[in-house]
């Protein structure tokens, strides 16, 4: 028996591999699992961030989510926003050695919009009429309808460019054979990790600054933090609000705090009583203490939401805040014919943060006589209750707690999916079934000109009406949190929750 124990111990010692961290190889712990890298069809922010290390678009985002030229050097547009000409970067090669040019862009965009390809990001360019190769490095896009947000759309990960040779060779399998022009080349993708390695021939001088980047999926919050504390990961994102103090106590670790455009709200179904009465919707806005919401739900890691378009997006038009005034809320409810309040269902996701938020809202609304039943559901059940409903009159949604981030960085992608009449489910995300012809007209006007001042004016009008008519209880804007070793620089957490890793370096 004793010799057996000795043998086992000896075996363990021989097989010992202490955790190693090689220089220049960056490891980042993330919460979700990667789903693939065919950017024309994937939809989750993490996979899109991962793909962005390898693939690039005509435009990209800087760390404030402003569009910047990447594979395009410049562009011209007519004033009606229906025709755009792009002058492309010369001398760029894909990882497989084939050249990047206007033809490559045309092939990619035509692949994306062709209905036969059934790609789920197709609607990004559904307004396009044609893609014309003018010369080797000039491409013209003509649109069926004016679309002033085109540059932001071309900065969205869904319009990034695959190598046409890879598309021809792998077809749909580019999902796991991504070949682009980015600073990193695809190395391997396993169940729980993606590894990309340095592109030696990257077109931007001085980049990349590390040999490889590995993304590791660690779903459990505590384990992900442990990974950072143990030095196995150089950075982790996200960092849950309740772990900030633990991470900060460690002298080798920085907590990254990032103001974001992730907007949290409680939508009210404006087609159904009692929320078809604007006074009821205003009363609920008065009944919720937003500062307490930020403190209780987010441990203070949230900012005020001061307009339907959050402060981090362009053309945000700040509004007079809805004060916390339960007295006035009760009076308004009385005027609307609900002196004793009413009973209502609040639906939302089942995770810890969403449950905490819904319980908070339940308590706040109880104080003005509104009895809230909380229904936490998994994503599948939520999809069933929201998007299976074809007829707005048949919708059973009353209150819905959710978040949104406009991943194109343009206010159009905030206002149109959420407040535009025709965007009610199943079309898009207007879960409040809000419909106001003046708002719809302003949203269309904002898309129909490239003049930034006229756009801002149209969106100002829309925001003012939406704020007053209050189809939502406007709750707050999340502050993004990440943890990183002090030795890591150049890691950008973008306001829409995506990660930009092109410039990562180890000091």
């Amino acid at each position: 028996m004793r010799s057996l124990v000795a043998m086992i111990v000896a075996g363990l010692v021989l097989l010992w591999q202490p955790p190693v961290r090689a220089a220049g190889n960056v490891v980042i712990g993330v919460a979700d699992t990667l789903t693939g890298f065919d950017v024309h069809t994937i939809s989750d922010t993490l996979s899109q961030s991962a793909a962005r290390m390898m693939l690039q678009g005509l435009f990209g985002f800087d760390s404030d989510l402003k569009p910047v030229p990447v594979l395009a050097e410049s562009y011209e547009a007519n004033s009606e926003a229906t025709e755009f000409t792009f002058y492309l970067r010369k001398g760029v090669r894909f990882h497989d050695g084939t050249p990047f040019n206007a033809e490559a862009v045309r092939i990619n965009f035509e692949r994306l919009v062709n209905p036969e390809n059934r790609l789920s990001r197709a609607s990004l360019l559904s307004m396009a009429r044609s893609f014309t190769v003018v010369d080797e490095f000039t491409l013209r896009i003509s649109l069926k309808t004016p679309f002033a947000a085109l540059i932001n759309t071309l900065a969205h990960p869904g319009t990034m460019i695959h190598s046409p040779a890879a598309l021809a060779r792998h077809g749909r399998d580019v999902m796991r054979h991504p070949v682009g022009t980015g600073p990193f080349r695809f190395a391997e993708w396993q169940a729980d990790r993606l590894k990309v390695v340095r592109n030696e021939h990257y077109w931007k001088p001085g980049l990349p600054k590390v040999d490889s980047i590995t993304l590791r999926s660690v779903p459990e919050n505590g384990s992900r933090l442990a990974m950072l504390l143990a030095g196995e990961a150089h950075a982790i994102a996200p960092l849950p609000p309740e772990q900030v103090s633990v991470a900060e106590a460690n002298p080798a670790i920085d907590v990254v705090r990032r103001p974001s455009i992730v907007t949290w709200y409680m939508a009210m179904n404006t087609r159904k009583a009692p929320f078809n009465d604007v006074r009821v919707r205003q009363a609920l806005n008065l009944a919720v203490d937003k500062q307490a919401y930020r403190q209780v739900v987010w441990n203070g890691f949230a900012a005020p939401l001061t307009a339907p378009v959050p402060p981090g997006l362009p053309m945000h038009a700040e509004q007079q805040p809805w004060p916390y005034d339960p007295e006035r809320a009760r009076a308004l409810l009385g005027q609307a014919g609900y002196p004793n309040g009413f009973s209502v269902e609040l639906m939302g996701a089942g995770n810890t943060l969403a449950r905490r938020a819904m319980q908070f809202l339940q308590q706040q609304l109880a104080a003005v006589g509104v009895q809230v039943r909380i229904t936490p559901l998994d994503a599948g059940m939520i999809a069933e209750r929201i998007w299976r409903v074809a007829d707005p009159a048949a919708a059973t949604i009353e209150l819905f707690y959710a978040g949104w981030s406009a991943s194109t960085g343009d206010p159009d992608w905030q206002l149109r999916p959420l407040f535009f009449g025709p965007s009610a489910p199943p079309a898009l995300n207007n879960v409040a079934y809000y419909s106001n012809p003046a708002v719809d007209a302003a949203i269309m006007a904002g898309l129909s000109t490239i003049d930034p001042q006229r756009r801002a004016e149209a969106y100002r009008v829309a925001q003012e009406i939406i704020w007053t008519e209050a189809p939502w209880v406007f709750l707050g804007v999340e502050t993004l949190l990440a943890g990183k070793a002090k030795s890591v620089a150049g890691l950008h957490y973008l306001p829409d929750r995506s990660l930009s890793l092109d410039e990562v370096e180890l000091k």
Binding site: M1, I8, L12, L15, W16, Q17, P18, P19, T33, L34, T35, G36, D38, T41, S43, D44, P115, R118, L119, S120, R121, A122, S123, S126, R172, D173, M175, R176, Q190, A191, D192, R193, R216, S217, V218, P219, E220, G222, S223, A226, M227, L229, A230, G231, E232, D378, A379, G380, M381, A383, E384, W387, R388, W404, S407, P417, P426, A427, L428, N429
Partner: protein
């Protein structure tokens, strides 16, 4: 031999019935995979395109028919979520789940039997009491809590082992301990009870009368006889280690089958769920078969024809 062949062919209708039940029940589950995978940013047209691409717009009997036809040839289609062949996804995860379950069971048997026998050797004393307390604690402690504790001590504070992930032997140690501890505790208690029962047998008195020392009596004679129920229990529990490791897999970011199943259910990734459930059905059927055969070897009365 003939009966073994007959038993194996008997599995075929069980598996076909299982595919039908799994297939239909999954479709009854609310939630549209196309909408979930396309994401909340997708337009209705995008979702419809994806649904058609996944083949989910066809009548359900047609979907089932083509699923069964391809499954017979070992093709379980593509994952809706990653578009990778399901067989590839499941194969990689199954082998890491088997590895973890085997390691956990190995740890559980060694630790459980050793602890059980040790308490018997010191029965009635303080060591006995302490050992029994440890065993109760081991059963009572939730595996995710034990897992986080192990990570904190051995990975964060001491830095001896990695916090999680797969890849090398050192990655296996902590999850195997976390997963196997409850089983180890159960086995310790079973070992103790079985050994105390055996201690009352005549042959033990004979051994002692021959003048054998107490350690030899206990470790050589009593333990060997008492091991039979322990081995049976360990075999039965192995199945639940394989299927029930979701929590430990999540805490240790272990790329196993349980986590894949949980993620696939969340996204309603039908082909992957179907394949994993079939793997589980097959495993349980095979384990039952093995148990029956083992009984036949132990007890001639059970042997048929």
């Amino acid at each position: 031999m003939l009966s073994l062949v007959r038993r194996l062919t008997g599995l075929v209708p069980v598996l076909v019935a299982a595919t039908l039940v799994v297939f239909l029940f999954l479709r009854l589950l609310p939630g549209d995979p196309a909408r979930l995978i396309a994401g909340s940013e997708a337009s209705a047209a995008d979702v419809a395109a994806l649904r058609a691409d996944m083949g989910l717009d066809r009548p359900i009997w047609q979907q089932y028919g083509s699923f069964l036809m391809r499954a017979v040839q070992g093709d379980f289609g593509l994952s809706l979520r990653t578009r990778r062949p399901v067989v590839e996804e499941v194969r990689a995860r199954l082998s890491s789940s088997l590895l973890l379950a085997t390691a956990a069971a190995g740890w559980a048997v060694v630790a459980g039997v050793a602890l059980g026998a040790w308490t018997v050797a010191h029965r009635g004393g303080r060591i006995d009491l302490a050992g029994r307390l440890v065993a109760v604690a081991g059963v009572a402690m939730p595996s995710f809590w034990l897992g986080l504790l192990l990570i904190d001590v051995f990975a964060v504070r001491l830095g001896w082992l990695p916090t999680g992930g797969g890849g090398s032997f050192s990655h296996l140690v902590l999850p195997a301990i976390a997963l196997g501890t409850a089983m180890a505790a159960t086995l310790a208690r079973v070992t103790r009870a079985a050994m105390i029962e055996v201690l009352g047998e005549d042959f033990v008195r004979t051994a002692r009368a021959k003048g054998l020392g107490e350690p030899i009596v206990l470790w050589r004679h009593v333990l060997r006889v008492a091991l039979a129920p322990v081995v049976t229990l360990a075999g039965v529990q192995f199945g639940s280690l394989l299927g029930g490791a979701v929590v430990v897999e999540t805490v240790f970011a272990w790329p196993g089958l349980g986590r894949l199943l949980a993620e696939s259910v969340a996204m309603r990734d039908y082909p992957v769920i179907q394949a994993i459930l079939l793997v589980y059905v097959l495993c349980f059927a095979l384990v039952n078969l093995c148990v029956d055969l083992a009984y036949g070897m132990i007890d001639p009365k059970v042997r048929t024809s």
